[in-house]
Symmetry: C5
Subunit: 363 residues, 5 copies
């Protein structure tokens, strides 16, 4: 499960830098171009990369969205068209990389990790590469299906701020949408944690232990995406890159705040799940203690009595007690006294309480 997070797409050791690693089962690229100016919006599927270059016009912002890397040549053509640095292209295709922002000339590469929550409660992470150019934004995703439709909708809205801003605002809108998607994912995990909390005291089964363990790994993993994202977005806010305007930086500051908040919540959850695992152990220890008490009480009461019965089951010729008339009732009295003494002893030790919670009603 977690090994796959980083190893599957590394180029072979010693490969020349910039080598693109494309697995056989990769989806064929689908390209969608949205170009807009305050006046008009063009939204089309591009099937031939050659057509892509014709589509650019003065005064328009273009968002070229590529899903799937299953065709090396297409990817390379796009790389050539936008004059992408080979190392940039490597980071984009050989997913997943660590979230980061990096400048190549006046292009800015923003790598973020998109989180998707499925009905089943599973959480999936996928790298989205956002490349910000002068009047265009490129986004690369490995699989089709994403969470960016609200951005597309806002572009179609004539009065939206995106429509009337530069490409840096579009890049911000995309990144912000991706970061905001961490909230429902964390909410889901939070709800699961809450369920575990009750179970861990009431019903600490091995199955729960397994769930806690998985939850912990998931949180360790999640944190590993969120933390570098925090730093990456901070670099955008700090103004390391001149092609992001002061105004957009104020918006990015907001995105950064969300990043910090999600990272802190993930951290808090991780601490809580560790706490739950310790509580689990204590809870099991508690139950073993309870089991032992029952055993000890039962054994301590009946073993001496059985011994007494055994005594008078012996077949010696000369056992005077056997022939006394009051001996049998005396033995019963002795037995009841012994049992009562043990019960009193356990009650004084606090092992049995009188309010029907423990063993005494069974005898």
């Amino acid at each position: 499960m977690f090994a796959s997070l980083f190893t599957k797409r590394q180029p072979k050791v010693g490969a020349r830098p910039g080598t693109l690693v494309i697995p056989k089962e990769a989806e064929k690229p689908k390209i969608r171009r949205i170009s807009y100016s305050p006046e008009e919006v063009i939204d089309e599927e591009i099937t031939d990369v050659a057509h892509l270059s014709e589509a650019f016009k003065e005064g328009q912002i273009s968002w070229v969205d590529i899903h799937g890397f299953g065709d090396r040549q297409t990817i390379q053509q796009i790389g050539d068209l936008f004059e992408l640095h080979p190392l940039l292209l490597e980071d984009v295709v050989n997913v997943p990389q660590r979230p980061k922002t990096e400048a190549y000339g006046d292009q800015i590469l923003i790598l973020v990790r998109m989180v998707q929550v499925y009905e089943s409660g599973e959480i999936d992470m996928e790298q989205v590469s956002v490349i910000l150019g002068k009047n265009w934004v490129l986004t690369f995703q490995e699989k089709s299906g994403d969470i960016l439709d609200p951005v597309r909708k806002r572009i179609r809205n004539k009065t939206s701020r995106i429509r009337n801003s530069q490409s840096d605002f579009l890049a911000y809108a995309i990144v912000d949408t991706i970061i905001d998607a961490y909230y429902p994912a964390l909410e889901l995990l939070g709800n699961q944690l809450e369920e575990f909390e009750d179970e861990v005291i009431m019903d600490p089964t091995p199955e729960l232990l397994r769930k806690l363990h998985r939850m912990k790994n998931r949180l360790v993993n999640l944190r590993r995406s969120i933390w570098p994202q925090r730093e990456a977005i901070n670099r955008l806010v700090r103004g390391d890159y001149p092609s992001i305007s002061e105004n957009v930086r104020i918006y990015l500051r907001d995105t950064y705040d969300h990043c910090v908040q999600t990272s802190e919540v993930a951290e808090m959850y991780r601490e809580m799940v560790t706490g739950l695992m310790n509580t689990y152990l204590s809870s099991i220890a508690n139950r073993t203690n309870e089991v032992m008490k029952v055993l000890t009480i039962m054994a301590s009461i009946f073993i001496p009595l059985t011994f007494l019965a055994g005594i008078y089951g012996m077949n010696f010729d000369h056992m005077p007690e056997l022939h006394m008339e009051w001996a049998y009732p005396m033995v019963w009295i002795l037995m009841l006294l012994t049992a009562g003494g043990m019960l009193y002893y356990f009650w004084r030790k606090g092992w049995i309480s009188l309010d029907a919670s423990s063993v005494e009603n069974e005898e």
Copy 2:
């Protein structure tokens, strides 16, 4: 419980920035204006925001206090009247945000978390947004009822320093009052911890484990509010914002000290509760050990005796011992020696002590 701390009020993923998320059950806004100059104080409920703008006068400091966000239009009107940045308004309404301070032009937004301790021992946290303008201070709270009455009282006092200072001192007074309220909350938690300390050794029940676990989560949570607050107030002290005068910064230094102190105490408590949970486990292990000793002593003494009794309960025709006259007493002597040997052995091992604490009085 903890999931609700950050998720309920996030706008939908991909919503345009500045979207206000107002839940249906939100309280209708109540607005209270306190304007004061060294000479006079006006304290009134405002029902119509339109009237608010008329109320400002030269030479007066105004504190506009809004409780409840249940009317988007009113909130927006206030935002327009005070020319609040849409991102600022988003942070104010979409509670809870991470505590922070941020400048928007010459307005300063201070987000802090107010703590309220109820009779029942429950601790509740609510975001208070303080916005400091040129000659006014805005405060936003989600629910009515707060802990700021002492500040209002000090304003009414003609000789108080607030009355004779600028709006930055008012903002300081509000923030300081909110921070100081952490002391009684921490005192409450400290008292609970003290109780747990005795119980954990004397009476480590599953119920106590649950309480410890909850206490830990509460402290993890509390720390998550206190730590960013510390940084937020430090930025005010350091002088990042020119609209806060040197003189007020000396007072804020004091508030910052209190912040640091509360954060350290919360941290110390968290460490202590972790220690308590470990002690709990050791305490349970101790008790199981004690239970096992009782069982082992009882079983080790009586099982061999029962075996001996069993031997002479056998019905073989040829068991010469059965017919010897002194055999029965001899068996008793053998049994007593065996039992005595076991007792001596356990006493030497330190499992039973002679001072009435353990098992020997039952036999």
Copy 3:
């Protein structure tokens, strides 16, 4: 116990800054003035603050030492006489504050925590406030009785360096004496830890668990005083305050070294006590294991034998073995073989050793 460390003296939430919180049971202030120049020393109790101002003379250094805050007016008079900032006075009286150094104009406030070790082994901490002025030093303590007598003695010694230096050297001498008092306190704790170390393996009682737990809390607490002290004194060394001369800073560097050393020892002790608590748990687990082995060996040997005896205690009419002459000895042989087999099995498992340490000598 630990709640009291910070909460008892906070002013009411929302009180105006500078409010002095004086509990009813506070001691009445006792004031002692020591004025000295290289030529002469005056050492007197001051009963009326009004007299205090008359006592200052050109060319003399004065040390005014106040014990007890039980009279608000006196404290306020002293504050007015030395022109102390209200926030400074608040920090001095509303003990305990976090150790720190702070400049108010050309006065420097140094808050440190004095440690006192009692015969009984208890460790007590009390805030000492040292205020360094131009040619005077003020010290405030809550209770009478302190550890500063050696300083007073050195003042009386005509050739001492204090006598021939400025007020900053006096302040250094006081702070240095207070820091040095941490050594015997830590030595005491170190000795206790050493005792616990042996006990935890030899005799892990619940009482020891309680002691370890208390020791841990004490160390957590101690660290909370020592760490900020370290930073506070570092600020004096770094030269943030011009009224401390270069020469005295070399001496303070020495004090800082001691601070660092004590903080590291406290940290090391805390780590050791945590280690001891883990060792305690392992030690208990060990003992339970040992108890279980005894039970298992006893039960595994005698339960099968008792079963065998039970077989031939049955009253069936047709049990041919019962009537065979050699049957009874055969059963004995069978029993001895069974017991021997079990013993061999346990010996091979390493549960019983032949050198008299375990169970086999009891049978």
Copy 4:
């Protein structure tokens, strides 16, 4: 195992700096020279160091690769030829040193740790020293056999970037290849961890505990190589060394990213293995609890019944029940009721479930 990681090759305490420590069993040095210019490539084994100096030509980049240190004189000759600082040569030969980069004049020493994964799943680490000179690169390895063949192959390719760049690019290519080899090693560890995850809940044997323990030590160890490497390469990226060109620094930034990624994965694995060890303990506690339940149920049901049977096995003359006709069936009914009561009690406690998972089908 881990002691050997750093101690075997230290010079004797107090030896003069620059002392080369060459163990007896060291391999004899094998020297391979690859010189290339855009036009030609020369690749030859050098047997006599004297020949090495003749081989350098204007306009060529030379890579001299030395495997094995088993001849002090040869190493010293190489040191003299390239004018290596004695401390540099000490770091190269007295392996392993901590990964680092260091400048000696205009030579840069880059110490990295090469990881090799064997078929058996063992991971081996070996120091590689890369020394970057004006138009040459020296590499030193202790043993023959390495992972640098892809670099050699790329040199032979006329169109490769190495062939057309300066020596700093060659050094980058070597370091990059070594860092990339961490990915398969980490993948291997990740796969093992995944296997352990299932086992720890399903089948927590002592053997697994041993494996987990070893895995943890291996990761602690691995991290100790990776972390300083991260810093070492960062220094190359930051531009501390002028002989590395701006262009190569962009490539090194990529290598640095990989370093960070591997260090984070190693850290994550370490956290996971710690989690697994805790889960192991909980899992064992679970199993003990289950074992105890079986014992307690069996003992609690049959011990009272055996007692009842014992009662009527007694041989008293006057036991009226023995002579009643319906007494024997009554005793059976009493026994069944007792057993049923116990079963009901345990079922209500949740210790036995009705779906065939537990004990009840055995009776």
Copy 5:
């Protein structure tokens, strides 16, 4: 054991700074002077400090080595002769201080901790104070016997670099030799750890627990010496002190690397010993589980059988089974079936395996 590490030599609380604390049992000082120039070496015991001053000559470097502080006057004379600052002399004599470097005028005080490994495996630490003056080096040690003989030997060697360098190189050589002595100490600890690793799984005795605990304390302690040493030597490398030449700083960089390496190894060992203690607990839990299984299997098989035997040992007049001819064999068959059923149940649960490892071969 560890309390003694810092407390024994503190001056009384409040003593004037510069007070030398000399315990009664201290060794009398032995002074040895080695003066050398490239041409000659003088090596002599000094019995009278007055002679020491005569011994200095132009163009010679002198190393004055003092062992033992048992004569206050001699120490003071040396202090006066070399014009040592009283605080410097205090740090030198009142051992142990925290390792550090400090400048007093143009003298540099270097405090390091020398480690000595004894045959018995014990590790001993002692403070060595190195004071670097213009053309002399002073070293102070508490006890006679040290590890610096190799340095003395190198001085006698005419071609050595020490002989031909300034006093700063001599100081470096001494410090470097002391740091290098940590390697054999760590190797010893590493070997012990390796032994513990096997034992902890194979044979987790209480004695081993005690050893692990001691090892942990030793490592905590060791780290406390090594860490400040690292910082101390870094200050020498960074060039804070002008009297250390650029050339010697390159050598010190090497010493610093060794410091870092030893500190990391100590840290790694500490982590490993913590891991071992956790493994120990799991290992004990494992064994208890195994013990419990044996008990449960034995008890679960034989207790029901004993009950069955008990039934037919009852003496009721009307027990028809007793008189049936085939009843006795039937009971045996029933018993075998019951035992077989239990064994099958335990085998299915995985508690007994068929390959002779467990209990079934004993019955």
